[in-house]
């Protein structure tokens, strides 16, 4: 690995008590370039602009995929990342589906640890605080032919992130727009999937909903995901979540919730969730909770679901009664080294640079 430390670090400008998420970047970034059929050497270098022309294939033909993960600091200033091998294997699944080269494990994992290590002062300590880390791969060849690119860049950038707490939201069950086609790229963290979701989400926002519950594009009868999160439904004391498929992202948080529910002995069924069954459960009073999960906010609890012009209110349960909040706390405590980690999910980032 080539390490080039910043000669003009901005860390002194960073106020962990007062910052906004997502547009302040740590002092360094990881870069690795692919050319002539192979990945080059990993560089850890100052965060900043690189030269690209508008003919860059990544912005023309959309070969671009990414990951989202977090690093946490405990009370002793130890730094941990969470299940990084899951993100590593997922970025390669995304890359393959987009006909992009896979990243070798050492490029991904060593680059990741080196960046988090070197920029550890950028990780805010405290409840819900973390460093949000963005590995991505995109096509960099300059060419105007709709074909597979011959050049790529793998990069990792990072930004301090605040409290995972997010207020309960209202969500609309989609009966027209969809995020994934059968035989499409819904399971991949493909850049284009997000752009495609913004306009339908904006329309839902205008109707008073924060997010969309995406349903299958053929019939709109089955839940897929919610916003950019996997979705869980609790009916009586059983939790349901749809099986992952080529249309559903295999979320790390989803998988962790499933294992944490099992550990607690909460009944959880991985099976298709029909819109009809959710509406019926709401009518007969057995629908207890619906929530979304993902790395960015861990859990977003839903307070209402919109369906065919009606807004159905959901009960708001306190922590002791809520499966969503209980499992969220279990996960956050594990991630931040407040609780034991029987699963071996936490990975310590040693000081070495």
């Amino acid at each position: 690995m080539i390490i080039q430390k910043s000669t003009a670090p901005r860390i002194s400008e960073f106020d962990p008590e007062n910052f906004s998420f997502g547009n302040m970047f740590t002092d360094h970034m990881v870069i690795c370039e692919y050319e002539d059929g192979k990945w080059g050497e990993v560089k850890l270098m100052p965060y900043g602009p690189l030269p690209f022309t508008p003919a860059m294939m990544g912005v023309n033909y959309g070969q671009a995929c990414f990951e989202g993960m977090k690093a946490y600091k405990d009370k002793d200033s130890q730094v941990f990342i969470f299940r990084p091998e899951k993100n590593f294997s997922r970025i390669n699944k995304s890359a393959s589906r987009l006909a992009m080269p896979e990243i070798p494990a050492e490029v991904f994992l060593e680059g990741l640890k080196a960046l988090v290590d070197l920029d550890r002062d950028w990780i805010p300590y405290g409840e819900g605080n973390s460093l949000y880390i963005r590995p991505l791969i995109f096509a960099t060849e300059e060419a105007l032919k709709a074909r597979i690119s011959n050049k790529y860049m793998f990069a990792i950038v990072a930004t301090p992130a605040k409290s995972y707490y997010s207020a309960p939201v209202s969500v609309k069950i989609s009966d027209y727009y969809s995020r994934a086609a059968n035989g499409g790229v819904g399971f991949a963290k493909a850049a284009g999937n997000y752009a495609a979701s913004f306009y339908p989400t904006q329309l839902a926002n205008e109707e008073g909903y924060e997010q969309i519950i995406w349903t299958d594009d053929s019939t709109h009868e089955y839940f897929e995901e919610s916003g950019t999160m996997n979705v869980f439904v609790r009916i009586n004391d059983t939790i349901y979540t749809p099986p992952t498929s080529e249309k559903i992202l295999d979320g790390v948080t989803r998988d962790s919730f499933i294992q944490l529910a099992n550990k607690r002995g909460i009944e959880l069924k991985v099976e298709p969730i029909s819109v009809k069954s959710v509406i019926e459960a709401h009518k007969n009073g057995t629908l207890k909770e619906i929530w979304g999960v993902g790395t960015a906010v861990v859990t977003t609890v839903f307070k209402a679901i919109g369906y065919q012009g009606e807004k159905l209110e959901l009960p708001q349960l306190p922590l002791e009664e809520s499966f969503a909040l209980t499992l969220q706390k279990d996960l956050v405590d594990l991630q931040t080294n407040v609780a034991e980690d029987p699963f071996g999910w936490r990975v310590l980032v040693e000081k070495s640079i």
Copy 2:
């Protein structure tokens, strides 16, 4: 418009007899940036790299769409572009669906004409030669939150293009992969649509097919497009093409073919084409031609279609008998000022810079 001419033009290195399409760019490019809710001034400047970080939203969340159009030179070195207002309105349809700001007509059309005018020496003269022009819009804000970007770049770059002639190809009717979801972005020239199509196309290539005939993702029973082209089927002496929809790109070449067929009095029906009807027509000998149309190659004739493991051969008709080749010639003659233009499609690019 700000005009900054190149002080190091590369035009002398350009050999119109010997170049490869798509990776040699003309001396200039058009750039216009969007910020604070409005588009800035248009710049015509030397082609080259601009500074972007890997946090650029365009490569993270895929807000990026483009157009493809051509400029032609006639025997008197007059330069023409073809139906530019169609590409202008389509890029704005694509932009809207991706929650991106629309481009004003003057930015698009004046930028386009200025670039083609200034770089007119890059347009090769001769049969099938042209300048391929790529307008695009992509998100440029640096932010790691999956939301609509606040900053965009509109750009136009161009590359000399060779003969539209392409050898007849074999195509595979897709029975698994698809390019568009119901309620998705198939009708938009969204960057992500192309990335999504590469891997399925690669698999088809390995089976001996150059392209895929995309079918509807729910049933795979109806033709949508072929590769990155609209598709036409001739059964006996009637031409069929699917109606445009939210899953099918509204191609300029498709529309031109329809009007040219009407002008010649060839029967043409815009209606859904079922896979079954095509296979049946092949069996009973009434399937005469299948071809794809698009700006890049105008027409690609199909010599075989693959369906469920079988490769069905198609007759190869000479120009006099082929509707595909006859309409292609009509269109190319019109585009290159060899024939009259009763439609008013050709737009002269005056010398003014």
